[in-house]
């Protein structure tokens, strides 16, 4: 709510660009959050003129004792002058800077709103009523505040007047709550004993508690540090999208995104992860600015490269000279679950991390902080609504990320379940990637495979050729498919058991028309790998054509196709940085020569017996 002087318009011109900081205030229901805010607004002179007197008079008329919390209710109804009210935000200012206080709902049903508000905050005030002590939400909020990445936490022990301003009660609550926060690796900056009702230790030091020598709430607010600029960290530039707008003869191919951390300049050598591709920055693009030769954290820009690279949105760009992010398909994370259905194993979810969107599965639960009694357990099989836990997540293909402690923007994520953001989390570190879900699947599949009496050797003797899975890869889809189909035709004419399958046949309706529908593409790759396993087992030379796939896709196809072998043939240039392809055929080679090269390869690999075109 814009209370009193609406913040934006009230900024004095000589203030120029006044510093602004977002603070979240959390606490159990009735522990006095509203009173703290009301009192801060009143004591810093941030209320509309006469407001305090009005509310006091109203209370007197209704024979009700005045409470500062009523100020917030009164302000919510504020309509005179049309001042804007939002129950979630209050504005006030000190001499030092402007504050936006996010009043996060204490009730568990509003936890979604609480995390939305708190995710934008740089510091947190946690309110605990001294007479009631540490309650369920005091703990939950403590956990969430730490998980949301708020490093500056101050605990207000409120209602000290109700416990006779007793130092021993203060001391014992401090040690009890410190012990709890330690289990979450949160270390509060200060514990401030206050009585919001009486204004003790809010703006002026309390005379009732001479034993407390620390800062008042207002002192502490002004002592919070603004987040430092991230310019000096390694470059993390997540590719949000790739544009080629052709109107008005625009021929730029621009990779657009917002720089999370670090800086980049024209001419820098950059590394794309997880694809491991490299290039140099040719230009930095922006509209209606002077020509830029460098850009840094926070800027939403675009770049063009000095080479043509096939890159998908979601990759992270770093500079060759910078520490790269981790690249792994497994990571350990703290996760908070808000979904209507629980987070379970054996289900595919959508992971959104920086600009990357990929399928993800729950691989392992390490421990769970149960939502109902806040006990730590190692035996839960799922995360229920409002549970928080430490888990291992696994993506189909490796992705690039950082531990949140190193770089926040690429170290946190959300999980989407059935169109809804159902969970949020932070990455602790990469996890051991032996024993992936895929490998586990292959082991189980092969053990359970129900074989007939005919062996692969029987089949290749009957067919006079071996079985093989042949993948044609290249940037020009039409060219690649045409070639793959031609090979199928020639093999067939020469009495080979062969089958061509178009990749688009495996995509669901939507994915076939929306390019870059990654989740479905990944799904289709898996289907293709399973089909290859069956068709090669049936003795076929199974052929497909793919565009826009990467090293990891080939790795998955190779693994799923085991025990049979895969042959990868690139048409055009080899776009794979690490997967060893079997043959590269330049586009300018005639189809006759190209087919000859493929046959030569098949003969060398002992798939076909002789040369017979």
């Amino acid at each position: 709510m814009n209370v009193g002087n609406p913040l934006p318009n009230a900024a004095c011109p000589e203030d120029g660009d006044r510093e602004q900081i977002n603070i979240v205030i959390v606490g159990h229901v009735d522990h006095g959050k509203s009173t703290v805010i009301g009192r801060l607004l009143a004591d810093t002179g941030s209320l509309p003129e006469g407001k305090l007197e009005d509310v006091k008079a109203l209370c007197a008329r209704n024979a009700k004792p005045f409470e500062y919390a009523f100020l917030l209710d009164a302000l919510k109804d504020e309509r005179s002058q049309g001042i804007t009210i939002d129950s979630a935000r209050c504005f006030f200012k000190t001499r030092k800077r402007d504050y936006i206080v996010i009043d996060a709902p204490g009730h568990i049903e509003f936890l979604k709103n609480m995390v939305t508000g708190a995710a934008r905050a740089e510091a947190a005030l946690l309110v605990i009523a001294a007479d009631e002590g540490i309650r369920e939400n005091s703990k939950r909020h403590g956990y969430l505040v730490s998980m949301l990445g708020i490093r500056q936490v101050v605990v207000l022990l409120n209602k000290m007047d109700l416990v006779g301003y007793d130092r021993q009660i203060y001391d014992s609550l401090c040690s009890e709550y410190t012990a709890f926060l330690e289990t979450l690796q949160v270390k509060p900056i200060a514990f401030i004993p206050v009585s919001a009702r009486d204004g003790e230790n809010l703006v002026t030091p309390s005379k009732q508690m001479p034993w407390y020598q620390g800062p008042t709430v207002l002192d502490q607010l002004d002592a919070f540090e603004k987040k430092k600029s991230d310019i000096h960290l390694p470059l993390r530039f997540p590719v949000q999208d790739i544009y080629k707008f052709t109107e008005e003869n625009d021929d730029r191919r621009i990779m657009a995104g917002t720089i999370e951390t670090g800086r980049l300049s024209v001419g820098d050598e950059v590394l794309f992860l997880p694809s491991h591709k490299r290039s140099h920055i040719r230009t930095i693009e922006a509209f209606h600015t002077t020509i830029k030769t460098e850009a840094a954290a926070g800027e939403a820009i675009g770049i063009t490269l000095d080479t043509q690279l096939y890159i998908k949105p979601g990759e992270i760009i770093t500079r060759s000279v910078d520490t790269p992010p981790r690249v792994n398909s497994r990571f350990k994370a703290h996760i908070f679950w808000m979904g209507r259905s629980p987070l379970i194993k054996d289900k595919s979810y959508k992971l959104k991390l920086a600009t990357c969107r990929v399928p993800v599965r729950l691989a392992e639960i390490i421990h769970v902080l149960d939502a109902t009694d806040l006990s730590m357990t190692h035996h839960k099989k799922q995360l229920d609504r409002h549970d928080v836990g430490e888990v291992i997540l696994e993506t189909t293909k490796p992705i690039a990320f950082d531990p949140v402690i190193a770089i926040e923007g690429t170290g946190r994520f959300v999980i989407v379940d059935h169109y809804e953001i159902a969970g949020g989390g932070i990455i602790l570190d990469e996890a051991d990637n032996r024993g992936t879900l895929l490998e586990h699947h292959i082991r189980e599949r092969e053990v359970a495979w129900d074989k007939g009496f005919i062996t692969p050797v029987n089949r290749s003797q009957r067919n006079s050729h071996g079985a093989k899975f042949i993948v044609f890869a290249g940037e020009q889809y039409d060219h690649v498919t045409a070639f793959a189909k031609e090979l199928e035709r020639r093999l067939f004419v020469n009495d080979h058991q062969t089958y061509y399958l178009g990749f688009n046949n495996l995509l669901s309706g939507i994915a076939a028309v929306v390019p870059g529908n990654i989740a479905d593409t990944d799904d289709a790759i898996k289907k293709l790998g399973e089909l290859a396993r069956i068709l090669t087992d049936a003795g076929q030379i199974f052929i497909t054509a793919l565009s826009g796939i990467d090293d990891y896709d080939l790795e998955i196809l190779k693994v799923l196709n085991t025990p049979a072998e895969i042959l990868v043939i690139c048409l055009g240039s080899n776009t794979f940085s690490r997967f060893a392809v079997d043959l590269v055929i330049p586009t300018d080679v005639s189809i006759e020569i190209a087919i000859r090269q493929v046959y030569e390869l098949l003969r060398k690999k002992e798939v076909v017996a002789e040369y017979f075109i």
Binding site: I83, A300, G424
Partner: protein
């Protein structure tokens, strides 16, 4: 980066998320200063291009200069612009200026209903044909699933409760009490068939920020915002029967900024000249739940 750079970067990020995730995307254009800044930010996000159509809901009671300005900018910037309207209500004269209903009902018919049915493709859309220089019925009747809107949280109470990506259900309804979480820069970009998402790149901007940015970027505006010598100007634009100019001698952007910072409007809400706000006790919330912009 100063505060305008930060606001701009966040808006650009939101635009790019929207463009990446929504196939049928449209931007609402009311012709006012906010939606013109919105248009400018789209050009920032897409390096000079505006790769989505812009939709104007024409109530036929807009101040005439607004429509002239709309078509002028459409021609100059080669915009892909559409308009929709509630033809039936206009033909039957079921409007406040006709004296047959109150202001809120008129807003509901000419704006909310027109918007809802134009977005869904059930009522005709008219597209500006740059070759012929006039509007023709649009052949595309697909539903728009992503709708970019230039509302700001500081405008009035109900708008401050919006998310950057705010879902609307099949009936266009907005469930204020049960909104999706927004964690860091991850928004709700997945949606069930039949629903749509309103996208708000300007949510964190204030009226003053808008003017500071117009000044910095030199964005062309309709002249109604400036005093033309009569000592009056519009602070917020809408339909002429329900929008009054304010008393002001501000003739330039800089003078408007001074007036907002420390002058007589520093503490008076922008929409104080908009009569429909005053009739709806809930601060437009009822109308907005039903799809009002």
């Amino acid at each position: 980066m100063d505060h305008l750079d930060k606001l701009e970067a966040q808006s650009v990020y939101i635009f790019r998320e929207a463009y990446r995730e929504f196939k049928n995307l449209v931007m609402l254009w009311s012709i006012g200063k906010d939606s013109t800044v919105l248009l400018w930010l789209a050009r920032k996000a897409f390096f000079g291009h505006v790769p989505m159509p812009m939709l104007h809901i024409d109530t036929h009671y807009k101040i005439p200069e607004m429509i002239e300005y709309r078509d002028k900018l459409a021609r100059e910037w080669q915009l892909n612009i559409l308009y929709g309207e509630n033809t039936a209500a206009l033909d039957r004269k079921e409007t406040y200026p006709d004296g047959t209903c109150d202001r809120i009902t008129c807003c509901r018919k000419l704006k909310s209903e027109a918007l809802k049915n134009t977005l869904s493709g059930q009522w005709p859309r008219y597209r500006f044909d740059h070759r012929l220089g006039r509007y023709l019925p649009d052949t595309n009747t697909e539903q728009y699933t992503g709708v970019i809107v230039g509302v700001r949280a500081d405008e009035e109470g109900s708008r401050s409760k919006e998310r950057y990506f705010s879902p609307r259900d099949k009936e266009n309804d907005w469930d204020v009490g049960d909104q999706p979480p927004e964690l860091w820069n991850q928004f709700k970009t997945d949606f069930a068939p039949g629903t749509h998402v309103r996208i708000h790149p300007l949510l964190d901007w204030t009226e003053l920020n808008i003017w500071e940015y117009i000044d910095r970027e030199d964005i062309p505006l309709v002249s109604l915002y400036f005093d033309q010598g009569q000592g009056r100007r519009y602070r917020s634009l809408g339909c002429w029967p329900c929008t009054s100019p304010v008393v002001s001698q501000a003739r330039t952007i800089k003078e408007i900024i001074a007036e907002l910072r420390e002058g007589k409007y520093a503490n008076i809400a922008e929409r104080s000249g908009r009569e429909q706000d005053k009739e709806d006790g809930g601060g437009l919330e009822t109308l907005r739940r039903e799809g009002y912009m």
